[in-house]
Symmetry: D2
Subunit: 123 residues, 4 copies
């Protein structure tokens, strides 16, 4: 997140919003945001959203995700909401939006599975 320059701008139960300022170092050859950068933020958004519903003694780990890239992405706002949370697995469906001329346009969407695990001390 800090490498990318992303910022957590809203948190509710089961959902978060992240904003990512445009940076030339994150683009591919056409000048658009790289799929890896979009994925990194969508994945982080899911992690934070799942954490809002997880027990205090659990952390969440991404198991897998699918991303559809819908439009050339200058994605600046990312919103994640938890679709289903179970005892072990959480399913999350975040979107990335580009803001242009005051309106929002969805540029990427993810469908992700996360897993709750007992917290392990960070290295």
């Amino acid at each position: 997140m800090s490498t990318l320059g992303a910022e957590l701008t809203a948190v509710v139960q089961g959902g978060v919003e992240i904003r990512l300022p445009f940076s030339p170092s994150l683009t591919q050859r056409n000048g658009y945001l790289h799929a890896g950068a979009i994925t990194a933020v969508l994945d982080s958004a899911c992690g934070y959203a799942a954490l809002t519903l997880a027990p205090d003694d659990k952390e969440v780990l991404t198991v897998e995700f699918k991303v559809n890239l819908l439009a050339p992405a200058a994605g600046q706002v990312f919103a994640a909401s938890v679709k289903k949370t179970g005892r072990t697995l959480t399913v999350c469906t975040p979107d990335a939006f580009a803001i242009r001329d005051g309106g929002e346009k969805v540029v990427a969407t993810m469908l992700a599975t996360l897993m709750a695990l007992p917290i392990t001390p960070p290295k």
Copy 2:
């Protein structure tokens, strides 16, 4: 690719290999490579692999991908091979491997769809 420090180390018809030296700036809180970084390299590997089979006047764009994170990833070698190439769409299945004690262990796998488009001039 250059932001990540990845390097294309082998190219064959329908396949490539990319190596990514370990960098602390690409890790998440447990000290492992971030899913976004792994995805970025797997996605780039698919793009290069698809390009080896595309006509000269076409470029390839990622439509969508799914990534399964299989093990805590200090992924250093990424190998992509094209599974099916059609007139418009290409399907690619790259893997990320960690090298430990001389052996390789798969740490992530992707299933991706790419699309061939007429080349547009870069911005």
Copy 3:
């Protein structure tokens, strides 16, 4: 659709609803609807939803989909809506719901990519 006994119950621009009566022949060993049956209906729902937005001389073909099975499924209502439609590709996000005690519960969700092609005569 007819093999499964599914019925198209609503159609709007970019969206459809399908209902599937429960049938013992479509269950797996625990008595729940088989993932293949759920997928078949979700996929058909996407196809119909994409068709509502396609030009008259085009048909749509499924390129790929991802399905998350969220709860033991006695899924009876399937609702699909198109998330993004382009000149060639359409992205669709249908859900399957179980109806219990008057309420609805999401039991499966799909993220699918479809492709528009010139109509070919059926065999």
Copy 4:
């Protein structure tokens, strides 16, 4: 499986093969095998493959899968192999093949996540 007429034709540690005789009731309007039927068999193949590696007191449940449809499918042979098995989750990558003129052609591929659970008595 019995509704579809599929038959388990080979089992090894971490892998299975299933054969599906062609049946007109499983086709869509172009005369090809329906995506739901292909998915049902690929999913069953993963389940059996995962079971070969699961402890005796566990059963496996599909969490999610992604399917890429690669060619018009008269898929008759399905081969699944486990890519990674962990304490809770198993990742499996089955393919569907059509047999034509003595040769095999891959017509669909899946990337699936399964979960091991304590066995519950069937209904």
